[in-house]
Symmetry: C2
Subunit: 220 residues, 2 copies
DNA sequence: TTATTTTTTTAGATTAATCTAAACTTTTAT
DNA sequence: ATAAAAGTTTAGATTAATCTAAAAAAATAA
């Protein structure tokens, strides 16, 4: 069984490596986990000994199959808990991250399977991130950035990338959550900002930075 | 903020001291926490420095007001989580303890207040133990052991003391949970066992050891 | 009341996770 | 191509939680 800390390293490496493909550098991990490079070196040696990742001195690490499976299970737990907090306990979607960071380390397969069933086997969490299934399978959605949407087209919001509390609160103000339909009404050429119409017909302006952080899918 | 381990010590001392009145010995704590007396001595010095308990060398410890408040909050969290696991997730009552031991250490007041509301502000957990309220107040019920019940009388089961999985499974087989009404039909003098009638009119025999572990209250 | 037993504490190590400072390797820039 | 910069590892400490073994204190028994 992995310690709390080991689990956090595995999860960090998973996220930094874009689902476990690329090699990740010591410094990136240190930055992500707010710790020192020397500490990371020690820990990745330990994780390499447990066959959770492949480590080549001075060239970073990449997760093994076992490491990826472990990471996906932690991600599954994190996203199920976030879903629970929002859907059942009435948390705002900007309030859930820190609590889910703790809950994801609870060790009980029975708990997770029962929680999953209680939530109705959700496929995505409140931010639109896919929830890996019991076997670690992730359902991929064909999605792209709102900034790449065409003027006049209708789309469904599928995911939000930046998870900062202020950004999420801003979106919440307009009920701009995964699942809602929006239409691009105008794209302003000089700064890339756009005017979109919401489900309630209200029109709002989104900066380029904002629209890049909102992922959408086609309105089939 | 207390560590996981510190919290477990405070909780252990609370339970061993019968709600924080009596002094608790080093050995009792070691036994309860499956650790060594030397380890306990170190830890209680640390907790004494944090003003969570009063420690007199060779004469054991007793919780301070701050220590009691801390203990009651941990107990509150533990019992709310057990209630959630049984009432919402469909756990059997003999399956919840280990998971609740982990969940009780999650740090989020918002989570606990929302969970409490979601559960409808329950007053007792699935074993009939009272859940301390937000301010640490515990509602005491006038209850006594079933072994002290009078032949012919009807009572309401209020709590089960022994929490071993096998004991709880045995009671579950007869739907003998806190809240159900039972009537004592016969007390056998030679071994102290008794025959009780359940809500479904079925009669079962309970050994003295069993009836001592079931608490009841009067059927007002 | 003194000796024996039990309980508790102290002393000294160990392991996991962390750090700083110094050494080493790789990358980048002239 | 070499020097400087950036990134990584090693060496040596530190803190929290734990242990064993030995010493000390308290309780019990003869």
């Amino acid at each position: 069984m992995l310690s709390f800390t080991e689990e956090n390293y595995i999860k960090a490496i998973y996220h930094l490596s874009d689902a476990g493909q690329l090699a990740v550098s010591t410094n990136d991990i240190a930055l992500h986990l707010q710790t020192k490079a020397a500490t990371v070196t020690d820990m990745i040696k330990k994780l390499a000994n447990k066959d959770l990742l492949a480590y080549e001195k001075y060239y970073g690490v990449s997760l093994s199959k076992k490491g990826k499976t472990t990471a996906l299970y932690i991600v599954r737990k994190h996203r199920l808990w976030e879903t629970f907090l929002v859907k059942k306990l009435g948390f705002q979607w900007d309030e859930v991250h820190e609590v889910a960071e703790q809950l994801e380390h609870i060790q009980s397969n029975l708990l997770i399977e029962k929680l999953d069933a209680f939530l109705g086997h959700p496929e995505t969490d409140p931010h639109g991130h896919p929830i890996p299934d019991k076997n670690g399978k992730v359902k991929q959605v064909k999605q792209f950035s709102l900034s790449q949407g065409k003027n006049g087209s209708k789309y469904i919001v599928s995911e939000v990338k930046d998870g900062s509390a202020t950004f999420l609160q801003y979106l919440a103000k307009y009920d701009l959550y995964p699942g809602v339909t929006i239409q691009i009404k105008e794209i302003l050429p000089f700064d890339g900002s756009m005017i979109v119409q919401l489900q309630n017909k209200q029109k709002i302006t989104l900066s380029k930075a904002t629209s890049e952080n909102i992922l959408i899918k086609n309105n089939e």
